[in-house]
């Protein structure tokens, strides 16, 4: 209980108290608190346990880089593990829990790992747990997995909604601190479209977390003026609570806006988070700088905090870190903290400055120990004392807070997402990003600028230059130039002689010795060291640890940090939720739904639907009393074969093809001949890929001399269209041919069965007798006495006398109703894709079950369709390759069980009867199968080595997955009406 709330001051709203709980304990904060500041105000510093050693950890920072204070916030489907208390805003009834501890954060049995730490050094697990071999998965790994990880995610679905949007602007400013505000103001005044995004809930950056002033104004006055002006400009959008997480090609920035993360009662009509893709002509990165921790023994004990974070809590939330603070610094930040604390009458025990020549001029009360270091902090769960080492002597002083500053690292994460490498600056002792890249300029302290006046000037001037380049020639900088006053930072990468563990990566428990031993073991490359020790791989992605680690590696390797270099900055700047990235694409709305124009007709006829790509197709139409799908399908098949059936085939791809060279074009894209297809006729076509494999099949009809109508399979409709356009535009632009997809324009209805002609003749005005309209006829027809025009095709997938009637989509349901009515006396029934599949297998027709991208025409018995006279068609050249003419190629054959009472399944393999099951003995596989009510047994199509030569051979249909081994015979793939008598009936 050492941190506490001051009785006055801060930017919190003391009139709005908020209740919350931490590990079940009720606490109170105010509007304007983060969870971290509220915990500190309640005297709670120990808030978590570390990853490996389960060390007690407190709140280290006041922002996005926090490695320790990760809490699980929320309950049920809103549970969010690993939430940084330092950025989570407090709301009424917030529930926060500590993580990675058992039974409690105050008493955690996992801390025993700390005692074992000598054996758990970097990479220890690569060297052991190998014996006996079987123990890894069974014993060691489950223990490690249970101990590892941070918070526990919920398995409950998320009750909230998410959305995505695009935004376009002339200038995106990332970070609403002094430089960002100055840049936005400059651009806003010039009339540019500006988006100013900041991850916090309040703009200002250092203006609200420091006690600074600018000319005659206090920082907060300056901020209020700037914000008021920005809000008055209609061309400026201020996006608060919005983290820009990634810089992508084309100057697109990803940002996530936390719309309702800070509210106690979620409005169901608003999203929880909103994903922005911001297409910016130019961007200014004004993301500030991160303070580096000092690396000394016990630098992780609760009560040790970043000096800047102490100031932030002090000024923003009026929280003091303790009653007696020690400052450990190598630059001005520590002095600023000491001054701020003393200004409110708080006791600063000492300022330990690692520089021997610490600048004089300190006017405060605290004693300065220049050239000294904090060697060790002690206290276990709360800081109690500090051992200060100077010139060989050690002094121990009592303290309940330690504010540390090891210098500043510009936050250049986003500037390096597209390949730019950071460059080491000796002057700044920091890595800097290239100041100006194509589309992105770094400004303010992110560019290494230090004083407030210089940051304001830098942001304003860089914005002005960008605006001039963008054509806003009248742009003027909102702030006048100001010279920077850089400190000459002298980094202290780590304190020598520490007794305790000196942590570099807090969350992953990487300490100095881990990095040094990684170098000794050959993992000294910055990437290898990262991967071997896990430094920088925690949820903070090394925001605090990477630069110190580089410094330590550099010392161990005896080179400069420039030679060590950095690991790669990659998205995301801070972690972002799956929910925000997924937006509305979830659950039933994961993908759009396509419905046939006959969908409602099918539904009112009782269809059971099945997902087929994006489509819902009718599978079967159960009648009352039918208890299994097979009953319905068998009935539908038998009824079609005996009477007639009606089936929705609207999902087939449909393409209108026009042009005087349309026939020539088709002749080139199909492997069979199309040049002389007569008007009024349909033809089955096989379309190959250039590698000779069958791509798709379907019928194409010649409706007039220069107008063809192509159908494709449902799955390949879009692909075929793209392919035709490629051939016409890129390969043969000299041909006069044009395409229009009409898939959605036509409702297409198959009417099949011996009674189909009689039924259709009732609604078709023209004579459709066999003589007038023979097999493969295709023509426009008049319907219902001239009230509607449609297209009629005499084609058959079922092997029955059959037609497909296409009518404009909007008339589909009415026409289907009319056909049902006309067919009632003939016993017509609706049938679905299951019955369609049964009938096509009975007839030996192939689909994409057989046309699987690895078959050529001869594999499916289509050798004769491949033109030998055409000089060229897509796929011709490749068909002559050795592998394409191998007689052992898998080829189409029928297969049926010897005993009709037995059955087999699609995907079973074919073995020679009695052969040992092995890949070498594999003869092929069943590509399609069904129970045929017509034949009275299971029938299948199979692709088998030399299949057509093996009719009559007895085989084993081998389905080891189900332990099903069926004796069967290979046969013709045409099980039904091989003479095509019914087809031509």
């Amino acid at each position: 209980m050492s941190s506490f709330r001051l009785s006055s001051g801060g930017r919190i709203d003391r009139s709005k108290p908020l209740d919350f709980t931490f590990d079940g304990k009720p606490m109170q904060g105010y509007a304007g608190d983060t969870v971290a500041s509220a915990l500190l105000a309640n005297g709670r510093q120990l808030v978590g346990r570390s990853f490996k050693y389960h060390r007690p950890r407190g709140i280290l920072t006041a922002g996005a880089a926090e490695p320790n204070a990760l809490l699980t916030i929320g309950e049920g489907g809103r549970t969010e593990p690993n939430t940084r208390a330092t950025v989570a805003e407090l709301y009424q009834d917030l529930i926060a829990k500590s993580q990675n501890r058992w039974p409690s954060v105050d008493f955690d049995l996992g801390a025993v790992n700390g005692l074992l730490s000598p054996f758990l050094g970097a990479g220890f697990y690569y060297k052991t747990f190998m014996w006996p071999a079987a123990f890894w998965e069974k014993v060691y790994e489950p223990i490690i997995r249970k101990a590892a990880g941070l918070g526990r995610a919920t398995y409950e679905p998320d009750p909230d909604t998410y959305e995505k949007c695009w935004a376009h602007c002339d200038l995106l400013v990332i970070g609403a601190g002094p430089a960002g505000l100055a840049a936005a103001l400059t651009a806003g005044r010039a009339g540019a479209r500006v988006i100013l995004a900041d991850e916090g809930f309040e703009p200002g950056g250092s203006l609200i977390s420091e006690s600074t002033s600018f000319q005659d104004r206090s920082a907060t006055e300056l901020l209020a003026q700037m914000v008021a002006e920005l809000e008055s400009l209609p061309n400026v959008r201020l996006l608060m609570r919005s983290t820009v997480f990634g810089w992508y090609d084309g100057n697109v920035f990803g940002a996530v806006e936390r719309v309702q993360k800070h509210v106690g009662t979620v409005d169901p009509h608003r999203p929880m988070e909103r994903l922005w893709r911001i297409a910016a002509k130019q961007a200014i990165l004004a993301s500030g700088a991160e303070e580096r921790p000092m690396v000394f023994g016990g630098n992780d004990i609760p009560g040790v905090m970043m000096a800047g974070a102490v100031r932030s809590y002090f000024h923003r939330q009026a929280v003091a870190p303790g009653r007696q603070t020690v400052v450990f610094t190598n630059g001005g930040s520590g002095y600023q903290t000491a001054a701020d604390l003393e200004a409110r009458g708080l006791d600063v025990a000492a300022i330990v400055d690692s520089r021997a020549d610490a600048p004089t001029g300190w006017a405060g009360k605290a004693r300065i120990i220049s050239g000294g270091v904090v060697r060790d902090a002690s206290g276990g769960k709360a800081l109690s004392s500090i051992a200060i080492s100077k010139g060989g002597s050690v002094e121990t002083i009592k303290a309940d807070a330690l504010a540390m500053s090891g210098g500043w690292s510009p936050i250049i994460h986003l500037a390096c997402h597209r390949g730019a490498r950071p460059v080491w600056s000796d002057a700044k002792s920091a890595f800097l990003a290239p100041e100006r890249q194509d589309g992105l300029t770094v400004a303010g302290s992110a560019a290494g600028v230090e004083t407030l006046a210089a940051c304001l000037a830098d942001g304003a001037e860089k914005a002005r230059q960008i605006l001039v380049d963008l054509g806003f020639s009248n742009a003027g900088a909102a702030f006048a130039p100001a010279a920077d006053k850089p400190e000459h930072a002298r980094p202290l990468w780590f304190v020598r002689g520490s007794k305790g563990k000196a942590f570099v990566d807090y969350q992953n428990d990487v300490h100095v010795r881990d990095l040094v031993s990684a170098v000794g073991e050959g993992y000294g490359h910055v990437e290898l060291a990262k991967r071997y020790t896990t430094n920088g791989m925690a949820t903070d992605q090394g925001k605090l640890s990477n630069i110190n680690a580089i410094g330590i590696l550099a010392e161990a390797r005896k080179v400069s940090p420039a030679d060590v270099g950095t690991t790669t900055f990659r998205p995301f700047y801070t972690p972002l939720s799956f929910g925000a990235l997924a937006g509305t694409s979830r659950g039933k709305h994961f993908q759009p739904v396509r419905k046939s124009p006959l969908h409602d007709w099918a539904r009112k006829n009782g269809a059971v639907f099945v997902e087929t790509g994006l489509w819902y197709r009718s599978s079967w139409f159960p009648k009352s009393g039918e208890t299994t799908w097979r009953e319905s399908v068998d009935r539908e098949v038998l009824n079609v074969r005996k009477n007639a059936g009606i089936c929705d085939v609207s999902t087939l791809g449909k393409i209108e093809i026009f042009g005087k060279d349309a026939a020539e074009f088709l002749n080139r894209v199909y492997c069979n001949a199309f040049l002389k297809l007569p008007v009024g006729k349909a033809r089955y076509g096989l379309m190959l890929r250039e590698d000779g494999m069958i791509y798709d099949d379907g019928t194409t009809s010649r409706l007039s001399e220069n107008h063809f109508f192509m159908t494709t399979t449902t799955a390949y409709a879009a692909g075929v269209m793209n392919h035709l356009e490629f051939c016409a535009q890129a390969l043969w632009p000299d041909l006069d041919v044009q395409f229009a997809s009409s898939t959605d324009q036509w409702a297409q209805i198959a009417v099949a069965g011996p009674k189909s002609r009689a039924i259709l003749q009732k609604i078709v005005d023209e004579d459709i007798s066999d003589a007038a309209f023979p097999f493969l006829g295709a023509r426009e027809v008049s319907l219902f006495g001239g009230r509607l025009a449609g297209r009629l095709f005499r084609i058959s997938f079922s092997g029955e006398l059959a037609y497909e009637l296409a009518v404009p989509a909007g008339y589909g349901e009415a026409v289907a109703d009319a056909i049902m009515e006309a067919g009632a006396e003939h016993g017509i029934c609706p049938y679905g894709v299951e019955a369609l599949g049964v009938m096509r297998i009975e007839k030996g027709h192939v689909t994409h079950s057989e046309i699987n991208g690895t078959v050529i025409p001869s594999d499916l018995g289509f050798a004769k369709m491949v033109s030998t006279t055409k000089p060229d068609f897509i796929g011709k050249a490749m068909l002559s390759r050795e592998g394409m003419t191998d007689r052992d190629r898998l080829s189409l054959v029928g297969v049926k069980p010897l005993d009709p009472a037995t059955t087999f399944k699609t995907g079973s393999h074919i073995l020679v009867e009695g052969a040992t099951p092995s890949l070498e003995n594999d003869q092929g596989y069943v590509s399609s199968s069904c129970y045929s009510p017509t034949i009275g047994s299971t029938v299948g199509l199979a692709l088998v080595k030399r299949g057509p030569e093996r009719h009559g051979e007895h085989v084993t249909v081998w389905n080891d997955l189900k332990g099903e081994y069926t004796k069967a015979v290979l046969c013709s793939p045409v099980f039904f009406d091989p003479e095509n008598g019914k087809l031509h009936g």
């Binding site: 992508y248 090609d249 084309g250 100057n251 697109v252 297409a279 390949g419 250039e690 590698d691 793209n722 356009e725 490629f726 535009q729 890129a730 390969l731 632009p733 000089p871 060229d872 011709k876 050249a877 490749m878 002559s880 390759r881």
Partner: protein, 90 residues
């Protein structure tokens, strides 16, 4: 990949409207060009680190096939011309 491709017919459009096919650097051989030429056409690819010409289809736009020149390291798009206008030779 750049976020915009300047379609010669539609102007700058989001890349999500386009579909890439691949290397546009080789012409479809004559039917009697021989098996080596055909093998090269169907299976071998220019795959440079740097400038590269590819066929892209403006699928959700004008539905024209384009030859797009872009950089495989920076993802910058240099140009886009109609495939029919360039012919195959690019």
């Amino acid at each position: 990949m750049a976020s915009l491709i300047a379609c010669p017919h539609c102007g700058p459009r989001p890349k999500e409207e386009f579909t890439v096919r691949g290397d546009a650097g080789i012409n479809r051989p004559a039917p009697d060009a021989g098996k080596d030429a055909w093998y090269a056409y169907v299976y071998l690819r220019d795959n440079p680190r740097g400038r590269h010409k590819e066929h892209w289809h403006h699928t959700s736009g004008c539905r024209r096939w384009l030859v797009v020149e872009r950089d495989t390291m920076t993802h910058a798009v240099y140009s886009a011309v109609d495939a029919a206008v360039t012919g195959e030779t690019v």
